[in-house]
């Protein structure tokens, strides 16, 4: 892991709302606030957190679907933060995205063959015969049958549509795929199929993933490292096993303890940390550590000073004054 494939430094995305005429009444929503991480070639970084924590916004900034307010995104050695036009198009060939709702992201009036072929045609990756073959082989790779090529998206089930979305993302042979909640709309059994498929593709093609999800079990299954977000910032980042088995940040602990366990025997011995209330609004974050009002371990310093994302002895990073290790 010497040269990272993706290097994000101090990335921020702020939205300004209200106050069209005057400065008063204007609020700044810090959806993503000073986030840094790297992804090595072939590595999967799981990005977890609850709704509104900024994980989707972060994913969209990385793929340049949203313009970052500050910070730097380096992909494959090039700074892509302000890229546009042809350069951005070329970057996108190596940096694709998969979405949560495969139905909304597929044009309902086009045959899936054309949907998958489109990026190949746009990037001029061959003559029509060659593209035909490429699409057929992509279809095979994602576990769809050749006779399904000429169907329309609505003729597919949710899981199959997600396969089509994956085939389209794979068409240009990207190095990194940003997957935004790719399995959360699917039933458990179908979800397992897609998780396995992504794991296979990762192995076979050396793909790197930024895997955004709220389901910690799914993330554990697929991610090498995990980043936990709370209120626009990463609060813990480290190897998946370490973070999920022995979380250091109180928020990660609470998050993990809240996941219901499908085993009544283990469920009973589990100690649950029930968080009070809801996450605060990113337009009006608490002072100091953003988690301190809901944290059972907060002390004086937590209310005044925001803890930096600092390494622990075992190498993982955590943003906490009192890490639980």
């Amino acid at each position: 892991m010497n040269t990272p494939l993706l290097c994000v430094e101090g990335l921020s995305k702020h939205y300004v709302s209200g106050g069209a005429l005057s400065r008063r009444g204007r609020t700044v929503v810090r959806a993503v606030d000073d986030v840094s991480f790297t992804i090595a070639p072939g590595e999967t970084l799981g990005l977890v957190g609850e709704s509104g924590c900024g994980k989707s916004t972060l994913g969209r900034c990385v793929t340049r679907l949203l313009e970052a307010s500050g910070g730097k995104i380096e992909f494959d050695g090039r700074d892509i933060t302000r890229q546009s036009g042809r350069a951005l198009r070329e970057t996108r060939a190596g940096l694709q995205m998969i979405f949560q709702d495969p139905y909304a992201s597929l044009n309902p009036r086009r045959r899936v063959r054309d949907i998958v072929a489109e990026p190949l045609i746009v990037h001029g990756r061959g003559r029509s015969g060659e593209i035909r073959d490429m699409v057929a082989s992509l279809f095979a790779d994602v576990g769809l049958r050749p006779e399904q090529l000429d169907r329309f998206p609505h003729e597919f089930s949710g899981g199959q549509r997600q396969r089509v979305g994956i085939a389209r993302a794979l068409a240009l042979a990207p190095k990194l795929i940003v997957a935004d909640e790719p399995v959360s709309a699917l039933d458990v059994s179908v979800q397992a199929q897609i998780v396995n498929l992504l794991a296979d593709l990762k192995r076979a093609r050396g793909l790197a993933f930024l895997f955004i999800a709220h389901d910690l079990g799914v993330v554990r299954q697929i991610a090498d490292r995990v980043a936990v977000m709370y209120l626009g910032a990463i609060v813990e980042l480290g190897p998946a096993e370490a973070v999920l088995a022995s979380p250091a940040h109180p928020y990660t602990q609470a998050l993990i303890s809240a996941v219901p366990v499908a085993d009544p025997a283990r469920a009973r011995e589990k100690r649950r940390i029930v968080l009070a209330g809801d996450p605060p609004s990113p337009s009006n974050p608490p002072s100091g550590c953003p988690f301190h009002p809901r944290c059972g371990f907060a002390t004086e310093i937590c209310t005044t000073t925001k803890p930096p994302l600092a390494p622990l002895p075992d190498g993982r990073l955590t943003a906490c004054h009192h890490p639980r290790i």
């Binding site: 209200g18 005057s22 009444g25």
Partner: protein, 324 residues
Amino acid sequence: MAGTVLRRLAHMIAVLFGISVLVFLIFFATPGANPAARIAGKDASPQTIARVEKQFGLNRPLPVQYALMMKKLFVTRNLTSFVNLGEKVVPQVFKAAPVTLSLVSGAAVIWIGFAILIGALAAAFRGGWIDRLLMVLSLIGISMPVFWVGTMANLITQGAYHHTWLFSWVPPLGYIPFSRSPLGWFKALVIPWITLAILYIGLYARVLRAALIETMQEDFIRTARAKGLSERQVLLRHALRCSLVSVVTLFGLDFGVLVGGGALLTEVVFGLQGVGYLTYQALETLDLPMIMATVIYASVFVVVSNAAVDIVYAAFDPRMRVRR
């Protein structure tokens, strides 16, 4: 709150300025437009035209003319007609406004009431014969031209059946001010109200029915049923309030337009000297001061009723309050 009002006001002034400039320019800067020649009349000599130009100030630069006209309209209020010389414009509009307001407000009460009744009934019996009958009737209402309905109403109430017990109470065509006789005012306006309302009853009933049927598919309707409410309570307490928003939107636009002169045909048919009538006459003679006055008046109403709609919105639907 004060900020909102101020912003609204600024917004309104900007709109009025834009409209007045536009009307002014259409009148003066349209290719081939020569106001002086038009005022001077057919086959006027160049000298007459020149005199007219001087007399009406038409030889001065356009911005100055515009400023003068606005000053006379708003500050000194002594803007006079180009056609009926010496006749002041502003009092005319103020005389016509109550007529139109009376006509449109009364009609609005009728059309909103009936539209809600018909729309709710149709939605409640969706697919049944009541629904179909009401929708056919409302379609007929929409399709009948208002001047035809008005003429027919006049033929019946003023002509053929005027002397029967049914319509002997209908006064002759024309307006009776409320201050002179409230009952007379009411009698004089009932037939025009109904005439004007028919189209809108049909339109609004159909819009409301569609909105209600859509709302009845919402999750919260299922919750309301699960609470043990009867179908009627579900429809009236939960679906109707949410569906009225679409009607309120329409109403804001329609009301503004009608008060601003859109009720012209009804006014003409029933001999009501309202704003529509006034605008119509001014347009016929291309009487700029009068056009300017009525247009400004109309736009004030459109803007004001739009603002009123926003307030009503918030009353009907708290979702609007949360936003911004």
